[in-house]
Symmetry: C4
């Protein structure tokens, strides 16, 4: 019977579709509840829906914990359950329902409660177990991890350099905007990502000149992560297609 | 005679060029009519031009409906005409002239009339039947449909995550700007697409830090659709070129 | 002697370097003259420099016209000179010195004079004849002309569609900003190129939703020209490198 | 013993990790010291930390100078030390500690002292000697130097052209914003890099039309450096991977 339950929650059944829909509804509910007028009118409904979601997700968690010995190959029945508990999805499953249970056992002040409630947002990552395409993206990101961390490091150095220079150049003219290098870093990020909100920008001729040089040269460097993710992703998609086609040597018929 | 009409409206004749020009003029007229001074002065002209356009497009629609049995291969004469009526271009042809005919039969209030008039904008898609290059682009978009919908889904998750976090972080400091997650989503879109109008942006140190991280990491993810469309398009253009060249094996002369 | 002059002005001599430097100085002078204080103080110098430049460029033009029969292969001596006069560089050479000569023969009002003076800016394109790398870029742009014009056409349709929709959605809420589709087009360009000055943006919920969808979907389409130019350019650079390397068949030694 | 010292400072020892950490802490200290409140409270700490850092970096510099004859292959002991002193890293090592020593020997006014102190920022480049991945990026940038300088030149011409045109178009309507071509250049950079702070933008219809055309066409050209750096970088990463795999001819077993 345990095997049947395991297959039921892991294979493409109506249970998966139900969980999938429930996650989407949870996200929608989180968004709608942020509208004060809506939350005020339908407070009871939001709370009932949260209660229902937690019950479902709790049952799902217990079932997954129970069938964990079928999920992993090696180890004792107990060690497999620990293995599930500390796996990424195991933790996500647990933490995303904790904001409901914790306040029942421990008295929290409002500030902590509010942060706790944010953990419900983790439910969105539960989609990762259900959606195959999300798994692809995550594995692509994992593959290009070393390149990404390298370019993020370079981008970080560039941000530090440009913000420090701009702080020294603009601080005299705009002591309130370029107050410290922290503010200057905010300018650097807005400029190098080309977002440019317009809340902070250089006004001195030297500052504008420096900012122009930083923008033209720096955008290329900050574009690297974008390029790497894009190319890694496209590469993966092409590899999936290629694996179907094979080249046949015209001489001896060997495939290569 | 029906065959002659069918060829006349579907082959590269002066009729196609006339329809093509008329569509462009319709778009121009729609733009010019939005200028109140211009519309006030030439109101009669705009209405006469609309009348003329609707007559031409109506004749075109009737002719296409009449010759539909030459356009499709299978089915009875009647089923072919139904087939045309519910095809994409058949619907575009019909809906883009409806705003003229409907008010003659049904009394609408002004609000509905205004929305109805927007359907005239669909005439721009009639260009798709005439321009071969537009057909290429649409088929490219169709080819990379699955990749596009996947990345749009990921972008959507990213937008939800970042906007919910920013709402919790900035709501206290800017209750009027980050009023609800809807407002926060507007900020997310403006930031992750790097448009950055500057009407809404974080002001707290934590908000700026979070926003910086979101901008640097997230832009890469939202750039994926761009990369996919670009690569799909360039791929298509290269394939068109390659199809002309063939590699000859240097050993046995076999082409492969 | 004519052949010597032809080689002198077309080969890598001090004359070319002199012309190159003079063009750069002309651009700098144009920029500096736009500063009222600087122009007021050194007005005589700017006019003397312009006089000197026009004399040099005029001599260059006369020499090129004189040696045009050595530049082209076919045709009579006279037809070759006409050929040069109507060539791109021949026209640039002529038009960029015309703002000096025309007012001597025809009385112009100030408005026309000012536009005429702008033609001096064309001198910057004279660099194209001297710099080999600029020629490469121009030929790359020529190669991908058809793809570029196609995507520009698609971008144009997208701009029209989005601006018309936004005009109908935002016109009631912001009659002064989204006054007509012209204003709305300005918003579309600022949004789809992700410049986002922040002088015009949607404020209604429907407008923000529509704008978000347009931004996310549309940026991909408008990024196409970028992608095409980039790929064409990189392709050219790679082809230049490849032409040196050749693959040798491991079986029979034939190169392919 | 000299050899042991040389190996100690150049091989993967705790000394390298210590220097690495010290550089990061120096950057953090520079950022924190820009916060007036923090600097006011912990002034003594910042000065002691700077003293400590300078002592360590000075010892490192002396050791590197002393062991320079083991680092280079050719030349006399003295010429090798000169070679190190004028090498990039030798100069960075020296200049980044100079702001401490120079004021001890020469009396400087405050303005010069402030600029001198900026040289401490150069310490961040000392990371380049320690981090292999930073060396990769720098060599990639060196490889595509010619393409980069070419596209920067083209971007420069585009900036000049667009800013001069916009100056003539917008100067009458906004004499304070588009005051001179310098201001206009600032607009060009903000527009073509798509940063768009919103402090300066066209308001006349002609200016908006011109600006739209410049934005759509120009962004492609300014995106070239980005594309080149990206492709060069990805190319390098792929080459590193490829060097491990080799193709075997299916016929005769020859690798190629």
């Amino acid at each position: 019977m345990k095997k049947k339950v395991y297959e039921f929650i892991n294979e493409d059944s109506w249970f998966q579709k139900f969980i999938y829909t429930l996650i989407i509804l949870n996200v929608l509910s989180l968004i709608l509840a942020s509208y004060k007028e809506i939350f005020g009118m339908y407070k009871v409904f939001f709370e009932l829906f949260e209660l229902f979601s937690v019950i479902v997700f709790s049952i799902e968690y217990v079932l997954r914990l129970w069938t964990a010995d079928l999920h992993f190959e090696k180890g004792t029945s107990f060690s497999k359950r620990i293995k599930f508990s500390v796996s990424t999805y195991g933790l996500i499953d647990l933490i995303s329902i904790l904001p409901f249970y914790l306040p029942l056992f421990f008295p929290f002040d409002l500030r902590v409660l509010r942060i706790l409630r944010l953990f419900r947002l983790l439910r969105i990552f539960k989609l990762g177990r259900l959606s195959k395409s999300l798994q692809t993206i995550m594995s692509v990101l994992k593959d290009s991890r070393s390149e990404l961390s390298l370019t993020l490091f370079v981008a970080f150095i560039l941000l530090i350099l440009s913000s420090t220079l701009m702080f020294y150049v603009e601080n005299d003219a705009q002591p309130d905007k370029f107050e410290n290098i922290g503010q200057s870093l905010w300018w650097s990020v807005a400029t190098l990502t080309t977002v440019g909100y317009g809340d902070i920008y250089p006004i001195t001729p030297l500052g504008k000149l420096l900012s122009s040089a930083i923008a033209i040269i720096g955008i290329g460097v900050l574009a690297l992560p974008t390029g790497i993710i894009s190319s890694a992703f496209i590469n993966r998609l092409e590899m999936d297609k290629k694996s179907e086609k094979e080249c046949e040597c015209p001489n001896c018929g060997t495939k290569f």
